[in-house]
Amino acid sequence: MTKEEQNKEQFDSDDEITWCPGCGNFAILTAIKTALLELNKRPEEILMVSGIGQAAKLPHYIRANVFNGLHGRALPPAVAAKIVNPELTVIVHSGDGDTYGEGGNHFIHNIRRNVDIAHFVHDNQIYALTKGQASPTTELGQVTGIQTKGNLDQPLNPIMLALAAGASFVARGFTGRQEHLVNLMKEAISHPGYALIDILQPCVSFNKVNTHRWYADRVYELPEEYGTGNLSQALEKAMEWGEKIPIGIFYSVKKPTFSDRLLWLADRPPLVDRVWKPRDAEKFMKELE
């Protein structure tokens, strides 16, 4: 076995994959393994965090530290773990329902918090684990087992929402553009602060509208000359959805991260290595005398 092959295998998990054949998740799994390999990451440096859903199973299918928590609640433990141990590369994988529905509040406020993590949303515009109900990104009027008269709620635009909330890195990928996706992931992981990639992926079992073909016919990569530092332009680009769907980095700027703002911890070891004895707190009794 060559060194390269060995390296590739280091991220392979023995856990049995339970996704449907042809699921877009396979492409995302391959992309993340490739991205981590190309970034020279080691499994023990990585913490994969997820909520619940088909996407949220991904951490089990890659060798890394794993925190597979509650539905909608991937972000809170992910950012906390990063705050406690900044040396960990923390990556959240969860679906559109998990992130934008159940976890909507955490999505908005962790953008504000700007902890240095990467957040990859597997956006198939449907609830798949529960067998095909509308998600926050399902098209208006789309018929499902529950939305029997068509989806009554208009879809939200995650790219615009993230930009409006103040995210410093916002991108969209597509499972049909593997190399492009790998590059996006590498950029997102390397970006200091919260980085979102909304990844368009087909659900072969439950979304018969937004198929691989549907996406493939519409997506186009943002051109090289597109500048990623202009918020108004990014918002304008983010509004584009329908006949043509842009993918790529909409916006990327440097902002102070949550850890940058913890000035009082700057010269201290990470919280995970904090050395403390009960007597160290005795001084706080002074003001109570």
């Binding site: 023990e44 597979n68 509040n105 005398e289």
Partner: protein
């Protein structure tokens, strides 16, 4: 010597400041202080009051009888003057002249003198000066306290106000100073925060909710000096999930809330249990359901926290009995959470959280930090580390991600294999359920027996938990002069320690549960866990704390009605 002063007024009138001035001055003169705050859920107006009790011996609760009322508004006069003792004094501004049935009234020109001192905002300070003179407090010892309370800009005007106030009255009460002992003055919420700091908490995430916010405020004030992170989460769901993530990553983590916030945390509680992540949660109760009485006290969340979250898993529930107990039990909770890899719930209430009490200095050298993390012997093994390895006692060696060589730490909210991966296998489910529940048996050995006050082998036994400890102690001190009576006050409440109770029970003719709730939740737990039923109940659920006198009166009523029944 045992005096009780009430300071009352509307929110925004400076009631808190006046109370603080009096509390601190008394504390600095070496008397024991117990100060309880009764406030409404509003920023302006309404009726708020502090009851500051001070004595030359340790005191454990507020008292019903008042020696002095310092009224900054007419409502205070109307609501409280009937509680004034025969020798009591009511101090208030001339403009609030109302007839009262008891005690003596001092209508003073407080408002006028405040303007004379330089600011009409000093009315309360004028009144505080008048009250200090009633007790003939040594004026020279007052200045350092005043310096610590007022910023430079307003120090001078308040000094003048206090001096003017001091000239308005004559001494009425005789002070007896105890032999000066070192004392600190602390609230339950501060004690929880300080206990957590001593235990090495380094990550606290919470969402403000009365009456638990004091814990977060206290920790936030020490954030820089202690080198920790205190983060206000977007909601309680985030708060508990963040704390769990921090704990998973190796920090000692904590969150706190009140009942309503705990409702939102319930799924997270199950997550801590399922992933076997140590977690300390303080639940500072207020009357519910839902918004209830936001600023008042109750003990009605016991049944809720005992069974909160779906499924079955071990948890520990400890009720905090007074600030000193809150400090030691909070520090202990972190060790228990780490040792058994479980969530530990600390139950407080508004009464305990907010009252100030003078207590002996806390003993930090008595505390230890026991992380119970596995070492190199586990992570240097060639085999892959298994987070949920089946062991004899149900406790798997715990490692922290990124701090165990090339090993990986895999945790899951799904039912999982020893590796931490999702499974639906029946045999694994049985093994994992047994493994989780096994630790409940170990916890039973960890549980501490309740405090006992009173006579040995009493015929009347009172059962209580949490913050009733102080009032109960005062009630028993007096009741035991006339009756064969004792009280058990539960701190550790789940798993329920039953040895002491079952030892005393055969001799008992009246078994009375005393609780701040409407249904007798401790009594229900005791029926369930010890198959012992209480014969009588003393329950209070109007949002107001029981005093020693209140318990004493109710116990006497119960005894006399019991006698009538048996005669």
């Amino acid at each position: 010597m045992d005096f009780n002063i009430l300071v009352g007024g509307a929110a925004g009138q400076g009631v808190d400041t006046v109370a603080k001035v009096l509390e601190l001055i008394m504390k600095k003169q070496g008397v024991e202080v117990f100060s309880h705050k009764d406030y409404m859920s509003r920023v302006r107006g309404g009726h708020n009051f502090h009851q500051i009790r001070f004595a030359d011996r340790p005191i454990y609760s507020h008292s019903e009888t008042l020696d002095v009322i310092l009224a900054l508004d007419s409502t205070t006069v109307k609501v409280h003057s009937s509680r004034l003792s025969a020798q009591g004094v009511l101090v208030c501004d001339e403009s609030n002249r109302t007839e009262i049935s008891r005690g003596k009234t001092l209508w003073l020109p407080l408002k006028e003198k405040a303007v004379e001192a330089g600011s009409k905002l000093t009315e309360g300070t004028i009144a505080a000066g008048a009250v200090l003179r009633l007790f003939d407090f040594d004026f020279e010892k007052v200045w350092p306290v005043l310096h610590s309370l007022f910023k430079t800009e307003i120090f001078e005007v308040n000094r003048r106000a206090l001096e003017i106030g001091y000239t308005l009255t004559e001494p009425q009460f005789k002070l007896e100073f105890p032999e000066s002992q070192p004392r600190i003055m602390i609230t339950g919420n501060q004690a929880i925060g300080l206990g957590a700091l001593a235990a090495g908490v380094s990550f606290y995430s919470g969402y403000p909710m009365t009456p638990s916010t004091g814990i977060m405020t206290y920790l936030a004030s020490k954030m820089e000096e202690a080198g920790i992170v205190v983060e206000q989460a977007e909601d309680e769901i985030a708060a508990i999930n963040m704390a769990i993530g921090a704990s998973y990553a190796g920090a000692r983590a904590m969150t706190a809330t009140s009942g309503g916030g705990f409702c939102l945390m319930v799924e997270g509680l199950g997550l801590a249990a399922m992933t076997e992540t140590p977690l300390v949660i303080a639940e500072i109760q207020r009357p519910g359901p839902v918004t209830g009485f936001p600023t008042r006290t109750e003990q009605a969340d016991l049944s809720f926290v005992l069974t909160a979250s779906q499924g079955e898993f071990p948890r520990m529930v400890t009720a905090l009995r007074d600030p000193e107990d809150a400090f030691y039990q909070t520090a202990r909770a972190f060790n228990i959470a780490d040792k058994f890899q479980i969530p530990v719930i600390l139950l407080g209430d508004q009464y305990l959280g907010d009252y100030y009490q003078t207590i002996p200095p806390l003993d930090f050298s008595a505390l230890t930090i026991e992380r119970a993390l596995a070492g190199e012997e586990v992570w240097k093994q060639p085999d892959h580390y298994q987070r949920y390895k089946l062991t004899e006692d149900g406790i798997s060696p715990r490692l922290v991600p990124g701090r165990c060589g090339t090993q990986l730490v895999i945790v899951d909210s799904d039912e999982h294999t020893e590796d931490g991966h999702i499974t639906e296998a029946a045999d694994v489910r049985i093994a994992m359920t047994k493994k989780r529940m096994q630790r409940l048996e170990l916890l039973k050995q960890e549980a501490q027996e309740p405090w006992f006050f009173g006579q040995t082998d009493p015929e009347i036994l009172l059962l209580a938990w949490g913050s009733i400890a102080g009032p109960m102690r005062e009630a028993i001190e007096r009741l035991q002069e006339d009756y064969s009576i004792g009280a058990l006050i539960f701190g550790d409440i789940y798993p329920l320690p039953t040895k002491l109770l079952t030892t005393l029970q055969p001799n008992v003719t009246m078994l009375i549960n005393v609780e701040q709730n409407a249904t007798g939740q401790l009594a229900a737990l005791i029926r369930q866990e010890a198959l012992i039923a209480c014969t009588h109940s003393i329950l209070r659920y109007d949002g107001r704390p029981m005093s020693g006198q209140y318990i004493l009166d109710r116990v006497k009523e119960a005894i006399s009605s019991d006698k009538r029944r048996t005669e």
